[in-house]
């Protein structure tokens, strides 16, 4: 007998007390918990996102669509970045104001090559205000998971208000589970030493979020 059969057999014997007419999944869970916490206007939701991002040490910037290229160029210059990883589907206009070397996100660039790059610029799929979370889903304007992981400086552009939701339940509704998802709440952090929070272990140590309005 295969281990699969052994385990399934043990499970079935273990739950023999469960009646055949046990409540079906649809009725087994009381979903009276909230879809979002508190009533906020759209503008207040965006403000809460900015506040919660900053609370976990992300650096938050605001601009409108016309000012985006200059904002990104400014952030790269401030950081002294010489190179930036660019996802295949990133809007070219976003990098129009900067001269730094572009490294396209390609299948064959190795982790060591990515490690030598200074920054990465991506869009995001959705941002969650209540938790200060950005979600990347690997769409063409966000690229493969590793490009937002290995470089030490991540600039993430969020279109407000249309990419912002209030809560975790609202975010999950918008996301496709078939895509590889990365949820980011502030830069890499650890609390392993005496439970003191330290930013920056393995992911990007600096996370900059540009909230761009009016596109």
């Amino acid at each position: 007998m295969s281990s699969r059969d052994v385990i399934l057999g043990r499970v079935r014997r273990a739950i023999a007390d469960v009646r055949q007419d046990d409540t079906p999944y649809e009725q087994a869970v009381d979903r009276s918990y909230l879809r979002e916490h508190g009533a906020r206007s759209v503008a207040e939701t965006v403000d809460l996102l900015a506040e919660n991002l900053a609370d976990y040490r992300a650096l938050v910037h605001h601009c409108d669509a016309d000012g985006l290229a200059a904002t990104i160029a400014g952030l790269l210059a401030e950081r002294g970045s010489a190179s930036v990883v660019v996802p295949a589907g990133l809007d070219e206009a976003w990098l129009a104001a900067t001269e730094v070397t572009r490294v396209p996100d390609r299948l064959d660039n190795t982790p060591h090559e990515l490690d030598a790059v200074d920054s990465v610029v991506t869009a995001c799929a959705v941002a969650i205000a209540e938790t200060g979370t950005l979600v990347l889903d690997g769409s063409p304007d966000q690229g493969r998971r590793r490009i937002t992981l290995v470089p030490d400086h991540h600039i993430c552009v969020v279109r407000v208000p249309d990419q912002v939701v209030s809560s975790v339940p609202q975010a999950l509704e918008r996301l496709d589970p078939a895509r590889p998802l990365t949820w980011i709440s502030g830069p890499s952090a650890t609390s392993d030493i005496e439970l003191d929070r330290v930013e920056g272990v393995h992911g990007p140590r600096t996370l900059e979020v540009v909230l761009v309005s009016g596109e």
Binding site: D30, G38, R145, L172, S185, S188, V198, G200, V201
Partner: protein, 498 residues
């Protein structure tokens, strides 16, 4: 379970040693009190906490009650997404499967993201025996591995170490494993984290095989979820060509929507954050189509039983399988805070460990038979549990099993357990108490005698009571028995009248 815990003394002995270690108690007290107050604040932010807790409990209970269906559904959806599913009935089989899979890649190194399941089965030792080095990449796990130590907390396995100790371990051991610690390393957490970053990055960048656990598996979609803070999880799940995930069969949730409950309750319960810094989800492999080459090209899922079906067979004890490993119960437990994680002799310490380990492993060994007693039954663990596991109820249930014996399931078979040895004195004391309480005259005489001789009482009991009093301070006998005081004052009325 893990080879690192073989030969552990029973809980009272291990705990007795731990409570006399002032550094350990200091480290633990600082850590648990810090996280305790932070957690209360994080939970208070969410006005529907009680509803979320109830929903989490109901989702997990429903899944466990239909676990066979959901396992089969999960297998189908993972396979459809390009993953390969393996089934492991026990630790040995799981280790054999993983060793074989690593050997097939031709690699002799794997990077690991913290996984309690692989600690439970002693995977690192099994890999080492076959010449494969497993590198732990969670900062706390790294501290434990470099310190040749054992984990003492579910979430913060090095919680028993302070920054000075960690600095010494890094300075001494890092060179043995790869990149040495920087010269003049100080004990500031930021510098220690930086040393770990440099040490581990060279391993991540060359790693071809990653080994992980998972916090959740979604039956409907075949999605696995890892929740973490440091980014080492993202490294292990993203950069290697082959990913092997070893996951307990109880980690299933039925649908994608169910994650909305646990992604709210888990971070707030464990690290007291609104959300942990990183959560990764992946569904099979990404070969062909959009996003090709995003993450490992080969994905193996090893579904682990190792005592879980035996636990499932116990109608009272099965609720332990609802556990989402947040560790909130450890941080509020007065016993854990003083005894420390090592005393529990398992990768699952604290209140949840006291009910999970004796069920996964059975109560045959001395340590496992003692664990249901590693509690004051104060109920704080139940109050904070985000899936409402009634830990005190299960503790009492397991105490009964240890003391009285009875029906249990081991290795899938129904067995009848004998009462454990070593409870003769307790049973004799209970019999004596029963007799005394049914003979009021004798009780009165005895109590008066005890009061009058109180100055001469020993600090420990002689004879068979010694074992009991060795782990407890004897209560002081009052100057006057309660019943005498009641009669003299008519229940305090005389005192009130004055």
């Amino acid at each position: 379970m893990s080879g690192t815990f073989v030969g552990m003394p029973a809980f009272p002995k291990a705990a007795h040693e731990a409570v006399h270690n002032a550094t350990l108690r200091g480290n633990l007290r600082h850590a648990t009190h810090t996280i305790r107050s932070k957690r209360a604040k994080a939970v208070a932010e969410v006005s529907d906490w009680a509803a979320l807790r109830e929903a989490g409990k109901q989702i997990k209970d429903h899944t466990l009650r239909h676990l066979d269906d959901y396992l089969v559904q999960l297998e189908e959806s993972v396979t459809a997404a390009g993953g390969i599913v393996h089934w492991a009935a026990d630790a040995d089989e799981a280790n054999r499967i993983v060793v074989e899979l690593v050997k097939m890649t031709g690699e002799t190194e794997v990077v690991k993201v913290k996984s309690m399941a692989t600690q439970e089965i002693g995977l690192n030792e099994a890999l080492e025996a076959e010449g494969i080095h497993a590198y732990e990449t969670d900062l706390a796990e790294l501290i434990v591995q470099l310190g040749k130590d054992r984990p003492s907390h579910i979430l913060v396995p090095a919680i028993h170490r302070n920054r000075g100790e960690i600095r010494d371990i890094f300075a001494r051991e890092m060179s043995e494993w790869g990149r040495p610690a920087p010269e003049g390393l100080t004990d500031t957490p930021a510098e220690l984290a930086e040393a770990a970053r440099l040490h581990l990055r060279e391993k991540f960048l060359r790693a071809k095989v990653g080994v992980s656990g998972a916090n959740f598996m979604v039956a409907e979609t075949g999605t696995l979820v890892v929740v973490e803070s440091e980014g080492n999880g993202r490294m292990c799940l993203t950069l290697p060509e082959t990913l092997i995930s070893v996951v307990g069969i109880e980690k299933i949730v039925p649908t994608w929507q169910d994650l909305e409950v646990f992604l709210q309750t888990l971070p707030r319960s464990s690290t007291a954050e609104r959300m942990n810094p990183y959560t990764s989800t992946w569904t099979g492999t990404r070969d062909g189509g959009a996003g090709e080459g995003d993450g490992p090209q080969t994905f193996h899922l090893v579904l682990l039983d190792n005592g879980r079906t035996d636990t499932l067979a116990d109608e009272v004890g099965r609720q332990a399988l609802r556990c989402i490993r947040c560790s909130a119960c450890l941080n509020v437990c007065p016993v854990y805070e003083r005894a420390g994680g090592h005393a529990y002799g398992s990768v699952y310490p604290g209140p949840i460990g006291a009910i999970l380990s004796p069920q996964l492993r059975g109560t045959g060994s001395e340590i496992d038979a003692s664990l249901p007693y590693a509690s004051t039954l104060c109920g704080a663990c139940y109050e904070v549990c985000p899936v409402a596991i009634d830990i005190p109820e299960v503790l009492v249930h397991l105490r009964e099993r240890v003391a009285e014996g009875g029906q249990a399931t081991r290795g899938g078979n129904r067995v009848v357990l004998k009462p454990a040895k070593g409870h003769a004195a307790e049973r004799a004391a209970m019999r004596a108490a029963r007799w005394a309480f049914s003979h009021p005259g004798a009780l009165r005489t005895g109590q008066r005698l005890a009061s009058r001789t109180r100055r001469f009482h020993p600090r420990t009991l002689p004879g068979p009571g010694r074992a009991w009093s060795e782990t407890r301070d004897l209560p002081a006998v009052p100057a006057e028995p309660f019943r005498d005081w009641w009669q003299r004052t008519q229940g305090g009325k005389e005192a009130e009248a004055k």
